[in-house]
C-alpha cells in the first residue's frame, strides 16, 4: 500500500574546477581548524619569541614545560573525564592533599612517597565515581564537595606546609634530568603519549568516547558505561595524586594549598584545547596545547617582569578569553 521512494543513486558530485593550490590551501585550513589550539600555541610562541628574545631559549622553554607539568598531568585526567561527559572539580584539592601525603610517606621510601598519593587519588576518584554513578548525583556538585573536603583534610593533616627532610631519590624523580631534558618534562610528554594510546587505541578509550558522545546509546550498544565512568574518575583522581607526588618531590615539601585553582584551570586548558564540554569530542594533543598556552601566560608576565600583581589577573583573564575566542572561532565551522 505504501510506496517508498527509491534511493538516490548518489552520484559523486563533480569536483569543483579549482586548481591544486586552492585545494592544498583548503586542506591546510582544515588542519588548522582541527588543531586550533596547537596552531594558536605555535603562533603565540613565535610572537612571544619576537618580542622577548629570551622566550624561545631552550632553558626558558624547559622552565615553561616544567612549571606546566603539574597542571598538565591533572589536565590529562580532566580531559578523559570531560570527553566522558563529566567534570572533576576535586583535582585541585587532591594535588594539595597528594603533596601532603607524599611528604608524610617520603621517609618510607620512594615507592611509599608515590604510592600514598596515587592510592588516595584513586580512592577519591572511586568515591566521586560511585556517588555519580550509583547515587546518580551531578558530577559538578559531587566533585565540588570533594574539593572542599579534601582541602580541609590537607590542612588538618599538615597545616600549611610540611618539609621533606631528605628527599633523595624521591626529589631527583622530579628534579633530575635525562639527556639534558628535565624529568618533569619527560614525564609530562610520556604521560600524554601513553594516554593518547589508551584513549585512541583501547576498548576503554572507545568506551570513554562513546559514553561522552551519547550515554544512552552507549548503554544500549552494550558499553559498560558505569564501569567506564568509575575508571575515568579514578584515573582523574590518580593523575591528580601523581601531580601532587611530583610537586612534593619538586618542592621537597607537602604544601596543602598546592594546586588551588587547578580544577578550573585544567578545565580551561582542556577546553582551549578543543575538548568539548558536552563530551564525546577532544584530543590529548589539543589539551596539552591548552596547558602550554596557559603556562605561556605566566611565563610572559614574568618576561615583562614589572607587571603589578593586580594587573596580572587582568592580563591572564584577557589572554584566556582571547585564546578561547580564537580557538573556538577557528573550530566553529567544524562543529556546526
Amino acid at each position: 500500500m505504501s510506496a517508498t521512494l527509491p534511493a538516490s543513486p548518489r552520484m559523486p558530485r563533480p569536483p569543483p574546477a579549482a586548481h591544486r593550490g586552492a585545494e592544498r590551501r583548503q586542506r591546510l585550513f582544515a588542519v588548522i581548524q582541527a588543531r586550533g589550539a596547537t596552531v594558536v600555541l605555535i603562533v603565540a610562541a613565535l610572537v612571544a619569541g619576537l618580542i622577548f628574545p629570551a622566550f624561545l631559549k631552550p632553558e626558558n622553554i624547559e622552565d615553561l614545560t616544567t612549571a606546566a607539568s603539574f597542571l598538565g598531568l591533572v589536565t590529562l585526567g580532566q580531559t578523559f573525564v570531560i570527553i566522558m561527559g563529566g567534570f572533576d572539580l576535586s583535582v585541585g584539592s587532591m594535588i594539595g592533599l597528594g603533596t601532603v601525603l607524599a611528604a608524610y610517606a617520603a621517609p618510607y621510601g620512594v615507592l611509599a612517597a608515590f604510592g600514598a598519593p596515587l592510592a588516595a587519588g584513586a580512592l577519591v576518584g572511586l568515591v566521586n565515581g560511585l556517588l555519580i554513578v550509583k547515587a546518580r548525583m551531578a558530577p559538578f556538585i559531587v566533585t565540588l564537595a570533594a574539593l572542599l573536603a579534601l582541602k580541609g583534610l590537607a590542612i588538618v593533616l599538615a597545616g600549611e606546609s610540611l618539609i621533606i627532610a631528605d628527599p633523595g631519590l624521591f626529589g631527583r624523580s622530579a628534579n633530575g634530568a635525562l639527556f639534558g631534558v628535565g624529568n618533569l618534562t619527560i614525564i609530562l610528554l610520556a604521560a600524554y603519549a601513553v594516554a593518547a594510546l589508551v584513549l585512541n587505541r583501547t576498548a576503554y578509550g572507545s568506551a570513554v568516547f562513546a559514553t561522552g558522545g551519547n550515554e544512552d546509546a552507549a548503554r544500549m550498544l552494550g558499553v559498560a558505561v558505569d564501569r567506564t565512568k568509575l575508571l575515568t574518575y579514578m584515573l582523574s583522581g590518580t593523575m591528580a595524586g601523581l601531580s601532587g607526588a611530583l610537586l612534593a618531590a619538586h618542592l621537597s615539601s607537602g604544601i596543602s594549598s598546592a594546586g588551588n585553582g587547578y580544577e578550573l584551570q585544567s578545565i580551561a586548558a582542556a577546553v582551549i584545547g578543543g575538548v568539548l564540554l558536552t563530551g564525546g569530542v577532544g584530543t590529548l594533543l589539543g589539551a596539552l596545547s591548552g596547558v602550554l598556552l596557559l603556562g605561556m601566560i605566566e611565563n610572559i608576565i614574568n618576561q615583562i617582569g614589572s607587571l603589578s600583581a593586580a594587573f596580572q589577573g587582568l592580563a591572564s583573564g584577557v589572554f584566556l578569553l582571547v585564546a578561547v575566542l580564537v580557538q573556538s572561532g577557528l573550530t566553529r565551522q567544524r562543529s556546526s
Binding site: 505504501s2 527509491p6 594510546l197 550498544l221 569530542v281
Partner: protein, 516 residues
Amino acid sequence: MVLLEARHIAKSFGHVAALRDVSLEVAAGEIVGLLGENGAGKSTLIKILTGLERHDAGDILLDGRSVAFSSPRQAQDAGIAAVYQEINLIPERSVADNLFINRAPRVAGLFINRRQMISDARALLSRYGLDVDPARTLRTLGLGTQQLVSIIRTVSLGARVVILDEPTSALSAHEVELLFGIVRTLREERVGVIYVSHRLSECYALCDRMTVLRDGVVALTEATARLPRARLIAAMLGRELVERSRSAQVVANDGAAAGSSDNVLHVEHLNWRRQVVDVGLDVRKGEVVGLAGLLGSGRTETMKAIYGAVTPDSGTVTIMQHRRHRATPARSLQDGLAFLSEDRRSEGIFSHLTVAENLSASMLRRIARWGIISRQRRDALVSEYVSRLGVKTGGSDAPISSLSGGNQQKVLIGRALSTDPSVVMLDDPTRGIDVGAKAEIHRTIADLASHGMGVLVTSSELEELVDTTDRLVVLDEGRVVDTLATAGHHADDVLAVIAGMQTAPSSAPAAEAGAP
C-alpha cells in the same frame, strides 16, 4: 523450537500502564511482526526484553529457562540484540568505531588495530551492500545510512534473537530492500527476528506471524497467511478504518484553490550551500503542496531555508504578499509561516517539560500581554488542542517524555498550528506514526487547507504524498525538476516520472513499492 518467550509481562510508568498482559514468542528462523498504534507498548516490550527496563510482572524465557537481564550488555551476551526505535549510535565517532564498539580487533590483546578495524568494517558494510567510507564520522551521514549502520552492527553481533524497532522509518526504498535482504539472511541462519513497524506492507512482505498490541494487551496473534489486512487494522484500532476517498479530498481542495489564486507562499531563487539550488515554488491559499524527492534530495534543507532555521545564501521568500529579509524562525512565525521538523527528538520536543509547555512553546507571545503570560489563556488553548488532536496523555501537566512517539508528534503539530499560520510546512509529519494517527493527521491537513491555509508537506512514503496533496514539487539534488498535479494520478505514475528523470542506471525497483 521456541527461542525467546515473554509471558504475561506487565509494566507501568507511574499511572500509565504501558503493558498490562503481553505474551510473545519467537522461534528460530521465524520473523514475528509486532504491530500496534502509537503508545500501544511495543517499544516498552522491547526495552524489557533487552534489559533496558525492568518489568513489574511476568517472565522472560530464553531456551525455556527464565532469565532476567539488567543491561543490554547482558542481553547481548545471552544472544539477544536489538535496534531501538531511535537511532542509538555515537554521532561523533567514525562508522567503523560504531560498528566495532566493544569488539574491535586487537594487537597483543590490548591495543585496537585501527587498520584492521577499518578493513573489517569495509568488508562488513559491503557484505550488506552499504557503500559508505568506514572512516567517516557518523554524524555526517544521512539518517537512513545511520540507521543501516546501526542495523548492520546489531545483526553482526551474532545474536540468536534480533529485535528491530521500526527500523525502516528513516530508510529509503532502496535501503529498505537492503534491510529485507539482511532480515531474510537472518531467517536462513535460523535467527529469530522480532520486527516492529507501522508499515503494513513491510510486515506482510517479511513476517511469518504477527502480534498486535493494543493498550498494553495482545489484541491478536495470527500467522500472516491467515491474516487479512482489514482484520489486522481492525485489531490495531479496535474498529474498522474509515478510509477517506481521495477524489473527494482533491475536489474539495480544488474548490478552495480555485476560489483564490493568491499565493500564500512564494519562493524564488533560493540557495543554501550546495544543498538547495535555485529553488522556486508557490503554495496557494487552500492548497496542499507535496515536496517530493529522493532521500537526501534536499527537502528538509529547503524547508529549513524557507523557515530561516538555516540562513539562505540568496533568494527571496514572500509570505502573504509580504516579502521578507533575513528570515529567522521567530520572524517566520510572526509572518504566518509554521514549521514542523522531521527530527522530533532533538529539534522538536523539550523532553523535560510538560505537554502543556511543549504545546504552548510557540504561542507564548500571543498569550502574553506586556511580557506577562496569561495562565488561563494558555491552559484553555492547550486543553483545546490536546483534546481535539486526540493526544493520549496522562494530563497536560505530564512530561512529554512519557508520551509515545506518535502522541509527541501530535503535540508538536499542535504547537505549529497554535501560531495561527497562513502556511505550514510539515517535514515528514507521519514518520513513525500508526495508521490511525496517520489518518488523523491527513484529515487535519485537509481540514487546514479547506479553511484556506497553505500546506507544504513531505513524506517518506510517496503514495501518501500523492494521496494527500494537490500538487507535487519534485526535488533532485536540491533543484526543482518538475511540478505535477496529483489529481487522477497514482503513486506509480509519479514514481515513473521521478525515475525517468534519474539518469543513473540503477533506479530502485518500483514494482516492489505498493506490494502486496
